[in-house]
Structure formats: C-alpha cells, structure tokens
Subunit: 123 residues, 2 copies
DNA sequence: AATATATATGAACAATTATTCAATTAATCA
DNA sequence: TGATTAATTGAATAATTGTTCATATATATT
C-alpha cells in the first residue's frame, strides 16, 4: 500500500527486452479491469466466504443455518454475506423473519473447481 | 481473525433446516482444502500480482522488465514474485545476472477469464 | 581484487480486514 | 402493545499485508 508515484527507469540488462515490454503492454487488459479482477479474487480469498459460497452452491440457506453450519456467530456471517452481496455473488429473499441467501452467479463453482485443480497438482 | 472457539446453537427458525445443513455438510469439501483454496485466491487478490501473472502469460520476463512495465520498484516486484513462486504460480531461471520468470500453471488464464466474465456480467 | 548490476531479503510502517460486542431494525405472535 | 427472534449495522480490536528503505547476495566485467 501507499505506493509512491515514482518513475521506474529501464534497466539495461538487455536492450532487446524493449520488444517484450511493448508486446506485453499491448496484450494486457486495461488497468481498471485488472483491478476489478483482483477485487473479485480478494472476495474469494477468505475461507469463511469460500465456505459460505460452497454451501450455497448446494442449497439456499438462511443466515442462522449458515452460522450453525460453520460454527460462527450470526454477526460474522452477516458481515461476510454483505461482502458477497456487494460483489454480486449472492442474492437474498426474505420470508417472514428469515432471510434466505443463494448464489447469484453461474461461474463460481467453475472458478473454484479450476482452483482445486491447481492445488491438487502441486507436487 | 482471532475467532473465538464458541459453540453456535441451532436457531429454531424452522426445524426443517436440519436436513439442509446435513445435506450441505456432506457435499462440502474438507475444511483444509477450502482453506487452501482461499489461500490461492488470496494470491490472485492483489492487482500487482494479477498484472504480473497477466504479463507473464504473454512472455517470459526478467524482474527489471516487469518493474519497468508496471512502474514499480524492483524490490516490490521481487517480493510479489516470491509470493507467486511459493504458490507455485510462477517459476524462474537464471541467465547470468538476470533472472527470468514465467508461468508455472496452465489454469491461471482460464481462472482469470472466468473472473472477467463475472465482472462483465454485473449490471 | 574492485566495481557495477540484477535480484533478493528483512525490518518498519501504513493500510486493510475479519471477528467480536453492543445496539438496532424488522417481522411474528402472544 | 410488549416480548421474542432473525438479521443487520457500527465501532473497536487484533491480525495481516503491500510497499519502502537499507542492506545483502550473486554474477559479470575491468
């Protein structure tokens, strides 16, 4: 954090690298898009949220049931559900006093599965 | 952090939810696996690392070129490359004074692409 | 050997974040 | 209306993390 706004000079380790840098620059998505992508993965980067998402992939659940399942306080779960909702990963509906949460994205499971492939490949 | 080891009681919002909790429990991967998955996504959850990975998807690059490309200090890049290497996402080879980094995983791009799909779908 | 360069590393600091605790809101039911 | 319950919210705290700065290591060159 607190990145200073400095100008990084080219190294002179090999002039040929100029080509590579230019080539990479062209193929890179926009700065903002990559930032958003990092924000999305940041949401996945917490085991409580991963568990919630994985649970909701099986069934719609209310807050207290998630709390019971994960053995955590309602408050903690509620805070995390808010993060997930802001990221448009879950949605909810009210039924009386109870609020049911469910997944709001098709790709979550696929992303998780790919992640698991990577993990299981580490020797 | 600092999660207290407390016992969360079942809510009595509806006794039927017992079934759901049991069903979800059965389908959930092991605690440890989900933890590792979160750790992986934590690595993706930083825009500097995302940029590095995206850059390396186009071409093998040395540390100073990455630093120049992203306009960040060599030190900052080096620290992040260490994180990426520990997560087995990049590998490196030395050529004289210069150390070249490249991707060490087939799935990174796929995971990123899926993430981008989610982002672009948000209305 | 001495110097220069590319990279790595460790400590420090600022910023971010996950959980807890206490209080509040919203709905139900007596 | 008052009591109960499910969920949300805000502040506080502890832990984690990304960058900087100074220093160390490794290779090449003179």
């Amino acid at each position: 954090m607190a990145k200073k706004d400095q100008m990084i000079e080219k190294c002179d380790c090999d002039v040929i690298h100029d080509d590579i840098v230019e080539q990479v620059k062209e193929k890179m998505p926009e700065e903002e898009l990559l930032y958003d992508l990092a924000e999305l993965f940041k949401v996945f980067g917490d085991s409580t949220r991963i568990k919630i998402l994985w649970a909701l992939d099986t069934a719609e659940m209310c807050v207290c049931d998630i709390a019971y399942l994960l053995n955590m306080t309602q408050s903690a779960i509620s805070h995390q559900l808010r993060v997930l909702k802001q990221a448009k990963l879950v949605k909810n509906r009210r039924e009386g006093k109870v609020i049911f949460y469910s997944l709001d994205d098709e790709h979550i499971k696929q992303i998780f599965e790919l992640g698991l492939v990577h993990i299981s490949e580490e020797e």
